[in-house]
């Protein structure tokens, strides 16, 4: 009984999110376009998460390098270290870690911001001020999240590789140019391209879930907290699901 109730809730919510997404596509590309607000959101969303993405990326690259070295030494393949780390970061760790950080930082802030706007009637006030709140608030944030996450992933990858370069140099000496030459020799278009495409989907998921949770926040301040919290949980899970689908699709398309 309890289980079926949970299932029903899950299915209800999935349906609601799909409808919300449909509404995004129906309204998002019709005038009037909120260009100024979109640019403002791109700036806020990108700029706010950059320090965190940079820091985690740097540590990730450094730690990964130091962890991989002993195993590679035991195989006698220490010289493959830059190539291994490069592939791991660009294909999987960069996009997923960045997206998870993004979900924690941006998903929650969108959920909380729209949630508190909802409960304090700011969304209603917008509507009576001749503004479509769905376009002004939701469409701009979802687009900004979709456009900015890939940029953050690229920057995060770069910082991560720099961390890895430092990691290599803790126990050995490799020049900057040699390190990056080894990394880029190992990488091909088929490593880079699918990772970039899935970043767009990660960004879209974080944006749409954050907005959905905020826009449908229940009354009261605890409703706002709940929106922010479940925005992070749901979008994080969704990132892994998209990752799983992405690897299947790239496999089928032969990008391997």
């Amino acid at each position: 009984m309890a289980l079926s109730h949970t299932w029903q809730q899950f299915l209800d919510e999935t349906g609601d999110i799909s409808r919300f997404t449909r509404r995004f596509f129906l309204q998002g590309f019709k005038p009037r376009y909120e260009i100024a607000e979109l640019l403002r959101q791109c700036y806020i969303i990108g700029y706010k998460s950059l320090p965190l993405v940079g820091l985690t990326g740097f540590i990730m690259g450094l730690v990964l390098t130091m962890q991989l070295r002993p195993s590679l030494i035991s195989y006698g393949a220490e010289s493959e270290l830059p190539a291994m780390v490069g592939i791991a970061i660009v294909r999987e760790i960069g996009p997923v870690i960045t997206a998870l950080i993004f979900a924690g930082k941006i998903g929650s802030s969108i959920g909380a911001e729209l949630g508190s706007m909802k409960v304090t009637e700011q969304i209603d006030a917008m509507e009576v001020s001749g503004t479509n709140p769905f376009k002004y608030l939701v469409v701009t944030r979802v687009l900004a999240a979709t456009l900015m996450l890939p940029v953050l992933v690229i920057l995060g990858d770069a910082i991560s590789l720099y961390g890895s370069y430092l990691g290599v140099n803790i126990r050995g000496i490799t020049s900057f140019s040699l390190f990056f030459q080894q990394v880029f020799d190992a990488l091909s278009f088929s490593d880079f391209f699918p990772a970039l495409i899935k970043s767009y989907f990660f960004g879209f998921a974080v944006g749409i879930i954050g907005c959905y949770k905020g826009f449908n926040s229940s009354k009261g301040t605890e409703g706002v907290g709940r929106s922010a919290n479940s925005a992070v949980v749901v979008s994080s899970v969704l990132i892994f699901i998209i990752d799983l689908l992405a690897v299947q699709i790239t496999d089928i398309l032969g990008f391997n």
Partner: protein, 258 residues
């Protein structure tokens, strides 16, 4: 919306042409919670009407239906001569630019300064104004509520009473013909509340607006309203001036005056 049978139309009160809001037989339910059941109301030009009702009686729902933020289940609403159920987005925006709405929770935009809050409706309704004219208008409404010095502050830096007055200024900025006040004095101390009531009265006289005031604060209602409508059990239970209702012996009416 089902069209009323011809027989019923005769029972609709004949309304004078100068009415700005006409609500007839309005119904609204949420699940099995019936909030409005056969509610009717007429607001004439220049008149201040208060709707009095207990917490949760559906006062906020009523004005959200009038302004088109919620859809009623049944009944008709005419706002400034137009049936709001039949309006498309553009027409609805056009009519909303002629009314003001003071929200129960003020609804000031947290991320904007006071100035940006006030400019928002001006810019969004495509009101043609140079930025100098906008500035002048912002300062005019702010000095009306006595807060010209707060123009560059953020809403979070204001006290509750100041926020209410800024929200009132934002409501006035489009020179509305009708203003909806959703509990303008709730949550304020009696003195500040009295100040707000006085402002509502003054602004109504200065700009010759009609107002629909939602409240359960007797002092506010007595100061601002020409006529009181009691919203009890989802319907217009009784109406009249303050003095008339005070003499009413019905226990449901009497409890508001104790």
């Amino acid at each position: 919306m089902t069209t009323a049978p011809i027989i019923e139309q005769r029972s609709i009160p004949v309304v004078s042409t100068d009415s700005v809001i006409e609500i007839e037989h309005l119904y609204k339910t949420f699940g099995d919670n019936t909030v409005l059941a056969d509610f009717s109301l007429v607001l004439r030009k220049g008149e201040n009407v208060a709707v009095l009702g207990k917490s949760g009686s559906g006062k906020s729902v009523l004005i959200k239906c009038i302004i088109g933020l919620m859809r009623a289940d049944k009944g008709s609403i005419r706002l400034l001569g137009q049936d709001i159920d039949n309006l498309d987005h553009q027409e609805l925006d056009e009519i909303r630019s002629r009314v003001g709405f003071l929200f129960q929770s003020n609804a000031l935009y947290d991320s904007m300064t006071v100035r940006e809050n006030l400019e928002f409706p001006l810019r969004r309704h495509w009101i043609k104004m140079t930025s100098a004219e906008q500035d002048a208008k912002v300062l005019e409404v702010l000095s009306n509520v006595g807060l010209a010095h707060a123009v560059d502050m953020m809403p979070a830096e204001l006290s509750g009473g100041m926020r209410k007055r800024i929200a009132l200024a934002r409501t006035l900025i489009l020179d509305p013909e009708i203003i909806f006040y959703d509990e303008p004095t709730t949550g304020l101390d009696p003195i500040t509340g009295k100040g707000i009531s006085k402002l509502i009265r003054e602004m109504g006289e200065k700009y010759n607006t009609s107002a629909l005031i939602i409240s359960h604060d007797m002092n506010c209602i007595r100061m601002t309203a020409d006529r009181i409508i009691m919203l009890i059990d989802g319907t217009c239970y009784a109406q009249g001036s303050y003095e008339e209702l005070k003499l009413n012996n019905d226990p449901k009416v009497k409890q508001f005056f104790e």
